[in-house]
């Protein structure tokens, strides 16, 4: 057959060239349930078995993939899902028919939704539907065996089928329908499997007869080509080579310490909020954790000492000796915590937040300090206090840590004094940084610092230009900080969003900053960007904020 080209929606980047393999529907046994066993019991057993299978599957996954399966488990475990089916069964319907009827109706409701997101959830329900159905009447949900490196073609693909496929030898996915918001699209991106959807005119009838049809797909452009000729193959191969070179280059940056073009090493650490944030990060690719935000531990109420201790220790183990900097509870402002933060403040960003709030709730703060001091015995722990405005506040916060250590020692609980420092985000502290001789380190929280300096709210996009134009003011403060900290051997690092923006990095590095902390996903990009920066100052890089 001759070469044919199609255009679909690019959903997961990458090039895949291989044998086209149409996916058969899951093989399901004959369509009636056993009549000798109570129908309701059969359905209950099938649902229970399906949940057990999903739990097993989830245990081998982590992060987003595990969460998608957790979602399926939660749906299956909810009585509301099978309510109608059990009702019909009690009226005499057979289990299979009742289950199919109940699920078809719910799947239809989602598929009919105008919201693309909810429409895509129909695929998750189909997945659950199929799994339980197979339990009820036998069959095999994994379907046919797929040759390694093949490009799977189907109408749509369930998350289960995707997860059960071995992608290690390459391969890709092309769907005649599908949705960019589907869970399987997320899975494909996470695994780096090229995927194109919406290729409506790709028809099994066209290709079904041929013993082996070759197909090339470009998950970055949406291009699909059946029986590609040499010209097409060359083009795809070139794109593939370019992408691989790019990935390889990024990979090289990841594996080495970052260094500027003029040879200064820059430590690049990561920002995390939850234990699982480090699951997919190789500790060798970064210089440690520059910021752990602890308020997310408090999302479901106040966690006890043990819960906190375990979370902190998990990160310290992962870091294997590299520094882990944990910020004490920074609630308030735009981060409410039940039973802790104040409701109805007129200016929450200027209100009872950060360390101030901890002073208002000394019992809560003490629990955190105890957990931190216990964790400190298990690794390289640095602790910093947020929103410090005065040296008195710093001394008071420090005292909590000393008191926690006293308590723990009296109780004969293993503990150690972590290295202590502070966030620099309140302008008064930044300007009078000279007075702060106790902290071992400073971490510049540019997100809040820039808000306060430019008197703009981060939440208002129309004010972003003003904030950006005020960066020179922040740079002045940073330069001052670098001079003073250098004399006193205090470390200075930077953990705001700006560090993840290559454009903003150059002026930051030129102040002398040599430690930054970024989102894990940005590691490669930031390290690569650092490599292109020359820290010898370009003329005119500093200036007063415009409009003064």
């Amino acid at each position: 057959m001759t070469s044919r080209s199609f255009k679909g929606e690019a959903v997961s980047p990458g090039i895949a060239i291989g044998t086209l393999c149409w996916l058969a529907a899951a093989r399901v046994g004959d369509q009636t349930s056993r009549t000798d066993v109570n129908q309701a019991d059969q359905l209950r057993a099938a649902i229970t078995a399906a949940i057990a299978q999903l739990r097993l599957l989830a245990s081998s996954l982590s992060g987003d993939e595990a969460e998608l399966i957790e979602f399926q488990i939660a749906m299956l475990a909810d009585d509301a899902l099978s309510e109608q089916a059990f009702l019909d069964i009690s009226q005499g319907m057979a289990a299979v028919a009742a289950w199919q009827k109940a699920m078809d109706r719910q799947i239809e409701e989602y598929a009919a939704s105008e919201d693309d997101y909810f429409k895509a959830r129909a695929a998750d329900l189909s997945d659950i539907h199929e799994r339980v159905l197979v339990e009820l009447i036998g069959g095999d949900q994994t379907g046919q065996s797929i040759p390694p490196g093949a490009v799977i073609a189907a109408h749509d693909l369930t998350p289960s089928r995707f997860l059960q496929t071995d992608w290690d030898s390459g391969g890709g996915v092309v769907l005649t329908e599908g949705s960019a918001m589907s869970h399987v699209a997320i899975l494909a991106r996470a695994r780096g499997v090229p995927m194109v959807i919406g290729v409506a005119d790709l028809d099994a009838a066209d290709t079904g007869v041929e013993p082996s049809v070759r197909i090339a797909i470009d998950g970055g452009t949406g291009e699909v080509c059946l029986q590609p000729d040499d010209a097409v193959l060359q083009r795809f191969a070139k794109r593939s080579a370019e992408q691989q070179a790019h990935q390889h280059a990024l990979g090289k940056y990841l594996e080495q310490d970052a260094a500027t073009a003029d040879g200064h090493q820059v430590d690049v650490c990561i920002n995390v909020a939850h234990e699982s944030d480090v699951d997919h990060v190789n500790v060798a690719h970064c210089n440690g954790i520059g910021l752990m935000r602890t308020e997310f531990l408090f999302g479901n109420g106040l966690p006890d000492e043990e819960t906190q201790f375990r979370a902190y220790r998990h990160l310290l183990s992962w870091a294997a000796g590299k520094p882990v900097t944990i910020r004490t509870l920074d609630a308030g402002g735009d981060k409410p915590v039940a039973n802790l933060t104040v409701d109805g403040e007129r200016n929450p960003f200027l209100g009872q937040r950060g360390i101030r709030l901890c002073f208002q709730h000394p019992d809560v703060f003490m629990v955190q300090c105890r957990a931190l001091c216990r964790a400190a015995a298990h690794g390289n722990l640095k602790v910093m206090f947020p929103m410090i405005a005065t040296t008195q506040e710093y001394a008071r916060a420090e005292q909590f840590v000393f008191d926690a250590l006293d308590q723990l020692r009296r109780e004969h609980i293993v503990c150690r004094r972590p290295v202590l420092g502070m966030m620099v985000e309140v302008p008064a502290a930044a300007i009078c940084i000279d007075a702060f001789d106790k902290p071992a380190f400073f971490s510049i929280g540019s997100n809040d610092l820039l808000q306060y300096l430019s008197a703009t709210s981060r939440d208002d996009p129309s004010l972003r230009d003003i904030a950006e134009d005020c960066q020179p003011a922040m740079l002045v403060l940073i330069e001052q900080m670098m001079r003073i900290a250098d004399e006193r051997n205090q470390e200075v690092s930077f953990c705001g969003d700006l560090a993840s923006q290559p454009k903003a990095l150059a002026p930051l590095l030129r102040t002398g900053l040599r430690t930054i902390s970024v989102a894990p996903a940005k590691l490669a990009e930031v390290k690569a960007a650092i490599g292109k920066i020359d820290t010898v100052a370009a003329p005119g890089v500093r200036g007063a904020p415009s409009g003064v």
Binding site: G63, D64, E67, L68, E70, F71, A74, M75, D78, D79, A80, L81, Q106, E109, S113, D115, Y117, F118, R121, D124, H183, N271, A273, H274, S276, D277, R293, F296, G299, N300, G301, D334, K335, P336, V337, A338, N339, G445, N447, D448, R458, G496, D497, A519
Partner: protein, 101 residues
Amino acid sequence: MSGESQKDVLLTHAAGLHARPAVTFTKVAKSFMADISFSADAGASWIDAKSIVKVMGAKVPSGKTLMIKANGDDAERAVDALVSLVQADFEASSGELRRTD
């Protein structure tokens, strides 16, 4: 703190009350003893906050104000916890849509 409690909260999460937030929402709801329900429209029916199927089925888009009510011993704590969760953008667990600061 027994009895009834009701509060309103604006749902700002980018994709509305979808899968991941819904799982977190129902998990938090289930940790309380009170009966908890919510409604996204005045006059619309109240939806059981502990049922993922019902919460998802409500298909609540971003920008809606959720009315959350609870009835039982820990009603007030339950409502406060859910309101906090929605305000914190469901960041009780990690995920793609994380606010940075």
